[in-house]
């Protein structure tokens, strides 16, 4: 049995640099309460299964995911927790509903990044403990090395990367939930503090706190519960070699293969023609360009020119990261992928407020797990 799967409810808290008022459990509760209200479901009666997606230690707790059932209405119900990027949670829900095991399912993810006081050490401790970690470098050196190799292979310039930061921070000014909206120039980016050459301070996203919950359902339930179901037409995911030594440094191979899987499920042959807009990972400015190429949303080596021409602006022919992306919204740890999905759903519903895109039918959301990982997922959604 293959069933269509739809997003029927969304709930989220504002995305902010700090959230001193809410514990992570209360943040989850707030997002879940809003999502269930939006979907018109009661978690105790109507939701069959739950998945939460967060990495351990990132909010200063260990094995914290034993503490996720109660605040989303999942006690004594089927719940599993992923120490993974949240688009993988969406893929889990897609599979469970598509195969008929579950009718209605909730996907949760949040970031409480402000509660982790020594995040660099956490990332450094995730690197190879024998070959890499003893060097004791700030782990963001990996992004500097990747940006350098990507620019070298594809002829992308630092100015073109800077344009991504300029665009996304400007987009975020129209998103009331975004934490880092700003009107900056290419020179501001180029003149910002040099961190890991060629990576400057304003090429890097900053962390934010926030929670997101989505409710998904099979077609039969979606038609009953929801006026504007947003269909999940395809999902895909992939991991490249994890070692720094053997991974690919120029091309985002994980994104290319995840994209190919999602396009195949969605029946998309010409991504650039059949997808109307995208929210792709932009944890660092160059990542947006690297991911657009990998996802075949522009020709190889053309991502730099695409942003230069303004094609990826909100009013351009192929809008990218209209939400503001991670550069404008803030990076939400493992919830970053769900933030991409959230924006695609808001746009496809026609509920994106001042940043609403006209005449759109198909949107793509893509995630990267973040340093030092080399993996990610893709979801393709449609309002018809």
């Amino acid at each position: 049995m293959q069933r269509r799967v739809a997003v029927i409810g969304i709930g989220y808290t504002p995305f902010r640099p700090i959230s001193p008022d809410l514990s992570f459990k209360e943040m989850m509760f707030e997002a879940a309460q809003k999502a269930y209200e939006d979907a018109g479901v009661c978690p105790r009666h109507d939701i069959d299964a739950f998945v939460t997606c967060e990495e351990d230690f990132t909010h200063g707790r260990s094995i914290f995911n034993i503490h996720t059932p109660d605040n989303i209405g999942a006690v004594l119900k089927r719940i599993h927790t992923l120490p993974a990027e949240s688009l993988y949670g969406l893929a889990d829900a897609y599979m469970l509903i598509n195969t008929g095991l579950v009718d209605v399912m909730a996907v949760e993810s949040h970031s409480k990044a402000s509660n982790m006081l020594t995040p660099n050490y956490l990332i450094a401790h995730a690197m190879d403990p024998v070959y890499n970690k003893p060097l004791s470098y700030n782990p963001y050196f990996i992004a500097g090395m990747e940006m350098n190799r990507y620019m070298h292979e594809r002829g992308v310039t630092k100015e073109q990367c800077a344009l991504v930061s300029v665009k996304n921070k400007a987009n975020a000014l129209l998103n009331p939930e975004a934490a880092y909206g700003d009107r900056i120039s290419v020179d501001d980016v180029l003149n910002s503090e040099m961190m890991f050459w060629p990576l400057s301070r304003l090429d890097m996203s900053s962390p934010a706190d926030g929670g997101i919950v989505l409710v998904l359902a099979c077609e039969e339930k979606a038609r009953i519960l929801c006026d504007k179901p947003i269909w999940v037409r395809g999902v895909g995911w992939c991991s490249d070699a994890p070692s720094l030594e053997t991974r690919e440094w120029g091309e985002a191979v994980y994104a290319r293969l995840a994209g190919e899987m999602a396009y195949r499920l969605a029946g998309i042959e010409h991504p650039r023609k059949e997808v109307d807009f995208a929210e792709v990972d932009d944890s660092f400015s160059y990542k947006e360009l690297q991911h657009l190429e990998a996802l075949k949303l522009c020709r190889s080596g053309q991502a730099g020119f695409m942003v230069e021409e303004g094609a990826t602006k909100r009013e351009g022919e192929f809008p990218v990261n209209v939400s503001g992306g991670s550069l404008g919204v803030g990076r939400l740890d493992e919830a970053t992928g769900l933030q991409k999905v959230l924006e695609v759903v808001l746009q496809l519903r026609g509920e994106a407020g001042k940043r609403q895109l006209p005449n759109i039918k198909v949107g793509l959301a893509q995630s990267w797990r973040g340093l030092p990982a080399n993996s990610g997922a893709v979801a393709i959604l449609s309002n018809e």
Binding site: D21, L135, N138, M194, E245, T246
Partner: protein, 158 residues
């Protein structure tokens, strides 16, 4: 349900926690061999997958491409090229480094993989992708069998 919203941040109270996390990580068969050779013989060893014709550095006992088991060892020349690099200006705590560190991935001819390490005896703005470099080891008496037995890689002067 209306929540009581906080308006005075100074009145919010976080709980402060820390845990001592101490662990160990087993070098394993390939790691033991690699670091013993660096320490005692001052040479880089790789492991070959005959099936894929790939030589792995760092060595390992499995091939990530064909999942075959690797048992053939060979010595790798201590000269390579800079595959990519960065100039790091911040340390692990986020503080500015007085002297920036050039970190590079050095690849060796005919090798799948390479070594991540710092470059020495070179100005950061003189480093280029493709630059030829050679391994500089610490004196034998100071080696302990770790990646830090390699002091740095330095450019090979033409």
């Amino acid at each position: 349900m209306p929540l009581d919203k906080v308006t005075q941040v100074a009145q919010t109270k976080p709980w402060h926690g820390s845990i001592p996390v101490y662990g160990q990580y087993t070098f394993g068969i390939a790691g033991e061999r690699f670091f013993r050779d660096i320490k005692d013989k001052g040479r880089i060893m790789g492991a070959k997958c005959a099936e894929c014709n790939l030589v792995y550095v760092p060595p390992r006992i499995y091939c990530e491409r064909c999942f075959g088991e690797l048992a053939k060892w060979l010595e790798i020349p201590n000269r390579g090229v800079v595959h990519t690099f960065t100039v790091a200006h911040a340390d692990l705590d986020g503080n500015r480094l007085e002297e920036p560190i050039v970190v590079a991935l050095v690849k060796f001819d005919g090798v799948y993989g390479g070594l991540v390490h710092r470059l020495g005896e070179v100005e950061p703005d003189k480093v280029t992708i493709g630059m030829a470099v050679e391994m500089m080891l610490k004196p034998k008496a100071k080696r302990t069998g770790s990646i830090l037995d390699i002091d740095y890689f330095k450019p090979i002067r033409a």
